[in-house]
């Protein structure tokens, strides 16, 4: 995956460093608490949220179970609408395809709208090697790019930076990339946003090539969908002559009408808004409106491996809302960087080891980056049973013979839950290593935990109680 993460220390070590960083912990705590509160309100407003959530999960399952036919359908629809479809088995091929497409335009600069898929494949670095400069245009991604940093949250990638740091970064680095920041720049968020607007304005107005991802791709109609807030997405999707979208094969939904479910689920679950400021939908090319050339690059890069695992498959339902990060006690303490990939938090802990395998110590440790409290499952808008997949992956790590988990959890215990809980947590994790955890996580006594009710705050207790009782009964 992204080469920016190569050489990352394994999760426990990285987490330890993060926990020691008081500023980071403070930022994260404040941020996750704020988002949880807003999200709770937005979700509570929808009467049938649980039914909507079930529908979201069912549509995604349906997509995944028939993915081959939907992929073919999507290709046909995009092509019929004047777009071009490319297929990429892995990161290297996707990067090569995009590089070649950019080269063919004769331009050497591209504007980019935030896309996890392109971060996953390390596209910016690949383009740079080919002499092509990619400009990130999402405010947070701009901060990350200017600081030569890494994103730490799916929704707010620069959450680890405070306003004073952002001001410093703008003053120091904007001039290297284009229009400099005004010398009298203050750390007022308004002033910082204004500086970003000015810095990027000229670039948008003259951009010829854009690269994006997509939140959804509709198989039936060939329509791509991007949800965003700032308008940088609209700029990239509308003004350039050529648009290249890199989209994971799990982003499909079968029909146009399916969007009515996800347009209700995603904004509320992600930013806690009734609707995000801007959503763009386009089907191929539209004469006289927007890009004249449209390329869709369909990316596998390990996704078919995830699909092949009957337990892990549900991971591909993920719509990247980031709600699971904001309720995760481990994420809140460890921060996004500790996960060593572009996918942080609970979703990263299950997605990364499946995409990349668990051969490296860093990736084998990821399924242990959890106390199995179940909060992530409770909030997930497509009801991914993250604890179930975590336990499944732990078993896989153990079956492989290596026990990096053992080492990982010893180090992990000291940062995850603090001294007083260390023993209990370590025992629990050790239990998982020894495959003593049931395949299917709590049923019956923990019905409150497993049903699909959504709670705005961390609802850890029912599960913990259940677990404590179970361990006593087991005589440990």
């Amino acid at each position: 995956m992204s080469r920016t993460f190569l050489g990352m220390p394994p999760f426990p070590k990285a987490a330890e460093a993060a926990v020691a960083d008081a500023q980071l912990r403070h930022n994260l705590h404040r941020a996750t608490r704020t988002i949880r509160r807003t999200r709770g309100r937005a979700v509570a407003e929808v009467d049938d949220w649980e039914a909507l959530r079930a529908a979201g999960a069912a549509i995604k399952d349906r997509t995944l179970r028939h993915l081959d036919r939907y992929l073919e359908q999507l290709e046909e629809a995009v092509t019929a609408a004047g777009g071009h479809v490319h297929w990429a088995v892995d990161a290297a091929e996707a990067n090569a395809v995009v590089t070649e497409l950019v080269r063919a335009t004769g331009h050497r600069e591209v504007v980019k709208v935030k896309s996890m898929a392109t971060q996953e494949i390390g596209l910016n670095e690949a383009l740079a090697e080919a002499g092509i400069t990619a400009y990130e245009t999402d405010l947070a991604e701009l901060i990350v790019q200017l600081a030569e940093d890494r994103p730490s949250h799916i929704l707010v990638p620069a959450i680890h930076r405070n306003r004073a740091e952002i001001r410093e970064i703008f003053l120091r680095a904007m001039a290297d990339w284009g229009r400099p920041a005004p010398a009298d720049l203050t750390d007022d968020p308004r002033a910082l946003a204004e500086a970003a607007r000015r810095h990027l304005r000229e670039r948008f107005l003259t951009a010829k090539v854009a690269v994006s991802g997509a939140n959804f791709a509709v198989a039936e109609t060939g329509t791509l969908v991007v949800l965003e807030s700032e308008g940088n997405g609209r700029m990239c999707l509308t003004l350039p002559e050529t648009l290249i979208s890199v989209v994971g094969i799990e982003k499909l939904v079968p029909t146009w009408r399916d969007l009515e479910v996800f347009l209700r689920l995603l904004p509320r679950s992600s930013t806690g808004e009734r609707m995000n400021p801007y959503t763009s939908m386009w089907t191929g090319v539209a004469p006289g409106d927007g890009p004249r050339e449209f390329h869709l690059v369909l990316l596998d890069n390990g996704r078919t491996d995830v699909l092949a695992d009957a337990v892990g498959r549900q991971t591909l339902r993920c719509i990247r809302c980031s709600a699971c990060l904001n309720v995760c006690p481990v994420y809140e303490r460890a921060g996004g960087h500790a996960y060593g990939s572009v996918y942080p938090g609970p979703i990263g802990a299950i997605l990364t080891p499946q995409l990349r395998g668990t051969a490296s110590e860093a990736d084998a440790a990821l399924p242990y980056a959890s106390s199995l409290c179940g909060a992530c499952f409770e909030v997930c808008p497509v009801a991914i049973d993250i604890p179930e997949v975590l336990v499944h992956l732990r078993e896989r790590v153990v079956e492989q013979g290596g026990r990096p988990g053992e080492r990982a959890l010893l180090a992990a215990a000291s940062w995850t839950l603090g001294d007083e809980r260390r023993l209990a947590w370590a025992q629990r994790a050790a239990g998982a290593v020894r495959s003593l955890v049931p395949r299917r996580l709590p049923l019956g006594p923990a019905a409150a935990w497993t049903d699909t009710r959504d709670l705005p705050e961390i609802p850890a207790e029912p599960f913990r109680d259940w677990w404590a009782r179970r361990e006593k009964e087991d005589g440990r």
């Binding site: 941020a31 609408a81 970003a196 107005l205 509709v218 700032e230 308008g231 400021p277 801007y278 763009s280």
Partner: protein, 212 residues
């Protein structure tokens, strides 16, 4: 390239070995959105207030004056309009009107604002949807200028997202707009106005017979 296509599809099929070949995609029960009730215009206006998108309600006869007044308040001297914007809407304007005939981005950046209609509006979420149809123009028009004045015929307001999706055609490029552009990227402080229009104003026009 084609080889990769075949390879990926083969991998997908192999991965789905547990799915019976003759299984048909299962139908999914989708909960309906909010029911269409009488207070849709109120709800829509309330949601817009929440985004600080400044809704103003006017009767059809007062629309030309309302458009002129909004532009005056804004101090917009030159505004771009889609070529097919009803002339009547801007008949009282003092501002210079620039009809879009394929203006380049720099020219769009030089005007003070844009006036358009919309295809559909969603009450439950305070959303306006543009589909490039009548009185809306191409997407760049409502993106580059810093001020967007949108005229919403009350008859176009639907209750919730499912109603809007049902009415729209994906063949057209669609833009769903819910308030002015915004970011929360700096310490989660909401800042309105980044790259899209920093000010969105909405005139809700009650049409005779809708009781709105």
């Amino acid at each position: 390239m084609n080889r990769s296509r075949e390879r990926i599809l083969a991998r997908v099929r192999a991965a789905l070995a547990d799915v019976p070949r003759d299984e048909e995609p299962a139908p999914v029960a989708v909960p309906p959105g909010r029911a269409a009730t009488d207070g849709l215009v109120d709800l829509f206006a309330d949601r817009l207030e929440h985004y600080r998108a400044r809704p103003v309600r006017v009767g059809a006869a007062d629309l030309p004056e309302a458009v002129a007044a909004a532009l005056r308040r804004r101090g917009a001297g030159r505004v771009v309009v889609p070529a097919d914007l009803p002339e009547e809407w801007t008949s009282r304007c003092e501002a210079e009107l620039v009809a879009d005939d394929g203006l380049d981005p720099a020219a769009l950046d030089a005007v003070d604002g844009v006036v358009t209609g919309c295809a559909v509006a969603v009450a439950a979420t305070g959303t306006i949807v543009l589909d490039g149809g009548a009185a809306q123009g191409r997407r760049a028009l409502t993106l580059v200028p810093d001020y967007h004045l949108c005229v919403v015929d009350a008859a176009r307001i639907v209750a919730d997202v499912p109603d809007a999706v049902a009415r729209l055609s994906p063949v057209r490029p669609l833009t769903w707009i819910s308030g002015p552009s915004a970011t929360s990227d700096i310490e989660l402080n909401r800042v309105e106005g980044v790259h899209g229009p920093r000010t969105l104003e909405v005139l809700i026009v009650s049409s005779p017979g809708t009781g709105a």
